[in-house]
């Protein structure tokens, strides 16, 4: 059941946009630039530019945290996953996001925020050594540009199909807008635009979901149609996931729980700096801890807004994604937009999609410039200059990063599903990061040298498993998603084994230098008085975190019985 849903959308998907829709789009682009220029006056230091001066409120960083992930590749890709695999797409949200976000907020954030590191690699510098730091910084910078390129490429294809703009036009226009508002306004500008994009994309997806359900005869009509065509398992989260059983996802419950739910998801949400950066810009420790917890709630319910359009598309176009149709799975949401939305809401939907593409790209650019400036340039190339120099350099490298991602946009073409492509990358870059983090944070004995070896071993093992064992057919895994899950587990185990092995034969870090970096210790100066308002019961991290977990489990129930 391996499908070849090529990235390009069908040619016949041109939307019937008119002047009203373009007016809505134009207003948005003006506001985006306006935010950038209005944020300019708040940028005085490099800390303002890269981390918003660590001063934003939790609801802003929380919504930015979820929006940074809610790029258009995610939206189109997850709707595609819904159309292809059915209800199983919920795994990416309820087991593949919520537990990791809660773990980040409740367990890891005190070490991240409390140690005052400005980036994820900088934590590795403190906990391990320069080689681990340089390797993770370089890998991250590389991945960030690559993923920004994926976003830009995907944007150009969607815009060409929907609006008829030539690809180079939308690449240049979107690239320049992102370049302008981040170079001028820094992270505050990126985060504010993400918060705005969050609401616009909801305003686009909610009407689409409502009309889609109506079109397919409500949930009952939809599930009757799909059950008849694809069987009961299509509307069931766990059906057919026993080990050795066949299911469209190509993964069993063990690889779903361990590969997706534990390794991939924890790797992405807890060590991907494009996400963690939003929490590090919060105004105090309490707000930083609440950032991923606040994000967990919208994240949990957004799945309905992408899964239902995906299912509706599968119901009303039975041949979608097969050779009998020129529509691919990625067309699910654009198809419904064309079929159902009148001008006006259509303009909102186009705006939301473009906003999501730009925000997805901007999140990567704004984390790339931080890591490149403070972790690579300021540590290893030009050291000990004054802060203004690094602020100027950060602006320059933002421009360079955007131009580089335009160049890498074309790499995205060779994978069959946008999400599959992103997840393949994450399994290579984030998984070993997560191993090194979790062992480094919880095991004092992990030596300074073990970090870099764990990173190298995990990345190599995941790549070998994917490109050699899976791609060359040495081991049989039914689908690309399944292969990603398995590669992630392999990378995790290899990284862990090598770390433990290296630690046993090399010297541990002196206990005095581990304060605030390892579980059971606290940073010496971490005595900032708790904010009075943070004592309100609904702002208690433990309540928010466990509430999210309980709610995610409850969400599973209707699709698991």
């Amino acid at each position: 059941m391996h499908t070849h849903a090529d990235l390009p959308l069908a040619v016949g998907l041109r939307l019937p946009t008119n002047g009203l829709d373009y007016a809505i789009l134009a207003i948005y682009f003006l506001v985006v630039l306006g935010i950038g220029f209005a944020a300019r006056r708040s940028v005085r230091t490099s800390l303002d530019f890269f981390l918003s001066g660590r001063s934003l409120p939790a609801w802003v960083t929380g919504l930015a945290f979820v929006a940074a992930n809610l790029g258009a590749t995610e939206i189109l890709g997850m709707a595609a996953t819904g159309a292809q695999y059915g209800v199983a797409v919920v795994h990416w949200y309820w087991i593949g996001a919520v537990p990791a976000m809660v773990f980040l907020g409740l367990v890891m954030m005190p070490f991240y925020y409390g140690s005052k590191v400005r980036s994820v690699p900088e934590f590795l510098l403190q906990r391990f050594d320069r080689s681990a730091h340089l390797l993770s910084s370089a890998l991250f910078a590389f991945a960030a540009v690559l993923i920004a390129g994926v976003n830009l490429y995907a944007l150009s294809i969607v815009v060409e199909a929907l609006l008829g703009w030539p690809q180079w036009v939308s690449i240049v226009v979107a690239g320049l807008f992102v370049l302008a508002y981040i170079t001028v306004g820094g992270l505050s500008s990126a985060i504010y635009n993400e918060v705005l994009q969050f609401f616009v994309i909801l305003a686009a997806l909610i009407p689409l979901t409502v009309l889609g359900l109506k079109r397919a005869g409500g949930w009952d009509g939809l599930s009757a149609t799909l059950t008849e065509r694809h069987g009961e398992a299509f509307l069931h989260a766990w059906s057919g996931t026993g080990i050795g059983e066949a299911n469209p996802l190509g993964a069993n419950w063990l690889t779903i729980v361990l590969g997706l739910g534990f390794v991939l998801s924890f790797g992405y949400w807890t060590t991907n700096f494009a996400e963690v950066q939003r929490a590090l810009s919060a105004r105090n420790l309490s707000a930083a801890r609440r950032t991923p917890l606040i994000a967990a709630f919208p994240k949990m319910f957004i799945v309905f807004l992408v899964m239902i359009p995906g299912l509706v598309a599968a119901a009303i176009v039975p041949e979608i994604g097969t050779s009998g149709s020129d529509l691919t799975y990625n067309d699910a949401i654009p198809l419904l937009m064309r079929e159902l939305l009148p001008n006006g809401v259509l303009g909102i939907a186009v705006t939301g999609l473009l906003a999501a593409f730009m925000a997805g790209m901007a999140a990567n650019v704004s984390s790339f410039n931080t890591v490149f400036t403070s972790d690579i340039w300021a540590r290893y190339v030009v050291r000990d200059r004054d802060d203004e120099y690094y602020l100027r350099f950060g602006r320059l490298i933002t421009a360079v990063g955007v131009l580089a991602s335009i160049g890498t946009a074309f790499l995205a073409a060779s994978f069959s599903n946008i999400m599959g492509y992103l997840q393949t990358l994450f399994s290579f870059f984030n998984v070993p990061m997560f191993v090194v983090f979790v062992i480094g944070m919880f095991w004092k004995r992990a030596s300074v040298k073990s970090g870099v070896w764990g990173l190298a071993a995990g990345t190599t093992a995941a790549m070998v498993n994917y490109f050699v064992f899976y791609r060359q057919g040495v081991i049989a895994i039914p689908s690309e998603q399944g292969a990603n899950f398995v590669s992630a587990i392999v990378g995790f185990v290899a990284g862990a084994v090598v770390m433990v092995g290296v630690s046993l034969f090399t010297a541990p870090k002196p206990a005095a230098e581990l304060a605030g970096l390892v579980y059971g210790t606290t940073s010496p100066g971490m005595t900032e008085p708790p904010d009075e308002s943070d004592r309100a019961w609904y702002r208690r991290p433990a309540l928010l975190g466990w509430g999210a977990v309980v709610l995610a489990v409850a969400c599973y129930l209707p699709y698991s019985l």
């Binding site: 230091t45 705005l196 009309l211 050291r383 300074v448």
Partner: protein, 110 residues
């Protein structure tokens, strides 16, 4: 990055002590202008959604039969427009009721 006085961490291959990083970030936090000078995003969300709400609501009021048929008989522009308008006004109201506090004062809002 670090203070100009020479520190043992300058030796290649070693790691700067955590204390030095904390001091540097604390120093930058003290000079930061974001808390004092960054505008309130609620104003932008409120403004944009109010404008969008009005535009889309008007489009809903002028909806043709063909548009209604396309949207499954629901006047989706009207409902979406009203909802966006309500959201925009709520953000403006929230900002009016609980304006952002200057950073030094004991804050009671988010």
């Amino acid at each position: 990055m670090s203070a100009p006085h020479s520190e043992p961490h300058s030796a290649p291959g070693s790691t700067p002590p955590p204390a030095e990083l904390r001091e540097e970030v604390t120093r930058l936090e003290a000079k930061s202008a974001t808390a004092a000078r960054l505008f309130d995003i609620r104003r932008i969300i409120g403004g944009l959604f109010t404008v969008y709400g009005v535009i889309v609501t008007v489009a809903g009021l002028l909806a043709s039969d063909a548009e209604l048929r396309k949207a499954q008989g629901i006047n989706i522009n009207l409902w979406t427009g009203l909802a966006m308008l309500a959201l925009g006004l709520l953000f403006l109201l929230w900002m009016r009721l609980r304006p952002a506090q200057p950073p030094a004062a004991p804050p009671e809002t988010d």
